[in-house]
Amino acid sequence: MTIGKPPVQVRRTRQVDPRWMRLGGWLVMGALLRIMTDTAEGTPSDHWYVLSNALESPALIGWLAAAVVVWALLEVWRARQLGSVVSTWTAAPRGRLRTLSAVPLTRWLMLAAVAAAAIVIPQFLSEFYQRVLVDQVAVFVLLAVGLNVVVGWAGLLDLGYVAFFAIGAYTCAYFTRALPVRPPFALNPFVILPIAVLVCLTAGLLLGAPTLRLRGDYLAIVTLGFHEIVQLFLVNKNNWTGGNEGAFGIPHFSINLFGIHYSWTLASLPYWYLFIAMLAILVFLFNRLEHSKVGRSWTSIREDEVAAAANGVPTVKYKLMAFAIGASTSGLSGVLYASRIGYINPASFPIVLSITVLSYVIFGGMGSLIGVIVGAALLTFLPAVFQEQAIVRQEDIPMWIGAILVVMMIFRSQGLIPSRRRRRELRLAAQGIADADAMSESPEGRS
């Protein structure tokens, strides 16, 4: 096999002024946004309904005009920028940094304020928004905090994260005797929490061990496949899981200890407090984890896996650890969710949900606990509001999630409230100095 002549020659092409190209791009973007914001939906009988509806409406003119305005403003800005050679993005990061700073007082005050707000404000919300807070915001914030360990700290991509959520929920259903297969005893959901954590930890280790020995990016596809298998299992293994019907009547949490009797009910507010208590514990623990040997080891793997291994960091072990910690957090959330809703079926855990949680982590800023919490809270609360106001159809939310992921990655891959360390990594990676994930080939090259 020989390569004859050099494969590509320099060819002279007629260059279109890039400004007009950009205008074209913005116009297409405007039309696309017009289509995306249309509340109609196509049907197999008339495939062109949405397109014709969207492109013939007068609103299209508005979107296109907006696109032209944005383009013009950006061109003016660009012309001004041309003068300065070094943009902020490529400027080398400098300056001193604290290694292990004590949390300053202002930080504590802010934390106290947020906690007070989280406790007080929901009491004044309508029942609808209270429900949104618990069923959407709280559940997904918990999930996002767990996924952040895998994606943000260890730099791995887990696309089957919600499968562990399902495993946790079904574990809860099993031990509360809500499934067709029953244990001889029923347990309180509080007791099931550690069991589900153990089950998901084990499942995570079993799945991660063969995969993580290899390249990090294979984990993405294997976890996606794992989610599919879990789905198939839940749907098809009727006599165990109840099939498509799922499980009903999962009991609520209750306390029956030392003469204290309390039982959670359908009311949202008590569950809200349970969830934020759980979240507070997790955030407390994970924050410590990040600023410990474990967190630093993850950072070293993200930045340079070869150097980390050469300096004694067992890279596979730490990746596996992150993956398993994420899985157990997901399982823990599953128990809370199952008990809160009382009814689960395979449709509660679609594959798109894993990607949705991922988008919350990305949007907020991977690696930053505050960012991830804010990101998940915003992206669950806002769609609920939009849906209630009938601005966006529920079916279209995955489309918006996908768009947000792409746009964030192109323009602000560090997220809304990035962690300082992560931002530095991405900036250094842009200059070809460091890496920022654990995706490259494992340090033991196989020659």
Partner: protein, 309 residues
Amino acid sequence: MCLTQHFWQFLIPGITLGSLYALIAIGYTLVYGVLQLINFAHSEVFMTGGFAGLFIAQALVTTGVTPHGADSVLYMLAGLAGSAVFGAIVAFLLERVAYRPLRRRNAPRLVYLITAIGASLFLANLAGKLFGRDKSNIPDLYSNGVVFTLFGAQVRVQQLVIIGSGLGLMVLLDTVVRRTKLGAGIRSVAQDAQTASLMGVNINRVISQTFVIGGLLGGAAGFLFGTYLNVHYQMGFLPGIKAFAAAVLGGIGNIRGAMLGGLLLGIVESLSQSCMSSQWIDVVAFVVLILVLMFRPTGILGQRLGRAA
């Protein structure tokens, strides 16, 4: 026992399905070869091909009567060409809009993967919004009769058409990659992008070409798959993952490996239907994927695009 009993009945559908997996797997393997990226959105290129084929067939067959003879051949060629072109357009735009800005600033691999998965989600659900979320059937372009019987198994026109088109496209691609300047460019970038660029290869153009070639094959596969089953906004998801598994099975980055892996996976999947209930079939591909990763991570034919193509 269970394997031998219906061997031939399941072998032919297996090869049919396998040639479709092979066509998609080539797209994954090409992109992985030049960018080291699992292009999750490739499954949506496949879906685009399915929808393009659907609309072309609907435009051609308006009377509801199944065409025959020369009409059938012409319509099939039109469907293949049209779906391939639309697949290529989507793949090209995907690279231009989503991946190129990342490449320009040397983004970490995680960022690429997230972009890919986001683009996949966006495209699938945009199609769902535009064209409806129910399944649509492509009108018949030829009458699907039995051609001959092989050891008691009936072989239908459709199966022959799919296998024939699939193999034809694969041979064509293999020749292009091995014999042409374009193929040499792709191989050089796959082997060592940096050196290739020093030797005067325009990396951006080669990457675009790679996406276009993968898109052509993926789009055509989408149309063929649509005639075989149906067209649906999420039709790309499962075949996409399975084709990736096939690419890993054959050796990721290796074109002939992708072809071989696709065919093998289709056959294994179909044959296992005789041993287990069909609802578990989708598990087979993942089990194969995990087994390959555990025991022969470089795949059957090894990993390099430059070496084995």
